[in-house]
Symmetry: C2
Subunit: 215 residues, 2 copies
């Protein structure tokens, strides 16, 4: 049974106080992937920033997108990605979500967020950018394309996966990764962090055929 | 303590069997927003399709993006959006997730997925496209821009929010929407659905200042 709803119009939304509106609209896009992005400038200054705007672009080739705002702390990350082509995506788990959130503070460019919040940079596989050691799913990315969205001045940054580092036991027989087993968490809005509990996996849907639960 | 990891290289990924690779890479982008998109063609044929590629683009104006594949069942949705400019985003809750998943079957264009899976189209507020009555968060969207991503032939479809329909009790004092109270769920990969449990909301981060829990 659906609950009784109230309508909020675009005029109501535009009348909201700015921070209230940002909190409200950011909640509407639902549960989000939340990652730490590791990068480095040419002078080896490390940078770490939390992003909740990661989106799957395609599997062949394996591409992941990211919405970046030009007017925020995202800027150091974007500059590093564009100048070095290298960055890492690191899943956030429930042991590090508060340190991850703290990376959104406006630290000066020469200060490493790794050090400021107490996370450990990890270098491997000839990747220029640092991974987050405390993360259970680390993805090495190579910058491919920046698509500027004129409608509001943000950009879609597309990168290709170069390597992935994770515990093998979390990969199921059909390629599905059990992120709950790896303690990956999700977020809503600008500041709310959530654990998850699997309801079910469902079989590939075909017309006039009942769905089966997988496992 | 981070777990012991194995590296999977881009060459390993490209060697994966195609469906295994799709399942694997779709899992990597983490927990995702999962929505039903309601639309209609000019002849009033209703369409309903599940999407897990929704991404927040901005709050002022309120914009939501969507990655659409040209070669899939997404196509009816895209055609309807482009010809009518109107569509709805409807959050999925744990009462309807199996019906929502079933909309991904390849029904013929003249068959309504609403009827095929047993969900109820709802019309209100002079919106041309149907909402999903059983959804607790309904968002009326107006098409703004399609950005073609040449890198793999997908498109980013950007729309502006025109109205929102939800129970007022779920909106907190600062504009945050408590999606758990509304039973909105999240998904991973192509077919796994999850409930959530809030860990915490955290205060706005500033350098050298401890985070506080909100509520």
């Amino acid at each position: 049974m659906a609950e009784s709803k109230t309508m909020i119009s675009i005029n109501n939304i535009l009348d909201f106080e700015q921070r209230y509106r940002a909190t409200f609209i950011n909640s509407l896009s639902g549960f989000k992937s939340v990652n730490l992005i590791g990068s480095k400038d040419r002078y080896n200054n490390e940078n770490l920033a939390i992003f909740s705007s990661v989106v799957h672009i395609g599997a062949t080739p394996p591409l992941i997108g990211l919405i970046v705002r030009p007017d925020s702390v995202d800027r150091h990350t974007l500059t590093n990605i564009l100048t070095t082509q290298s960055y890492t995506l690191n899943h956030i788990n429930d042991n590090i979500f508060n340190k991850a959130h703290q990376t959104s503070a406006r630290y000066p460019k020469e200060e490493s967020e790794f050090e400021a919040v107490g996370l450990t940079p990890e270098y491997k596989n000839e990747c220029f950018a640092p991974f987050v050691k405390e993360s259970n799913v680390q993805i090495e990315m190579e910058f491919k394309e920046k698509v500027d969205l004129k409608i509001n001045g943000t950009s879609l940054v597309i990168g290709q996966i170069k390597s992935i580092h994770l515990p093998l036991k979390a990969i199921q027989e059909d390629g599905f990764i059990d992120l709950e087993q790896l303690n990956t968490i999700t977020c809503t809005g600008l500041d709310s962090y959530h654990k998850t509990q699997r309801i079910n996996r469902l079989s590939y849907a075909k017309p006039n055929q009942n769905l089966k639960m997988i496992k």
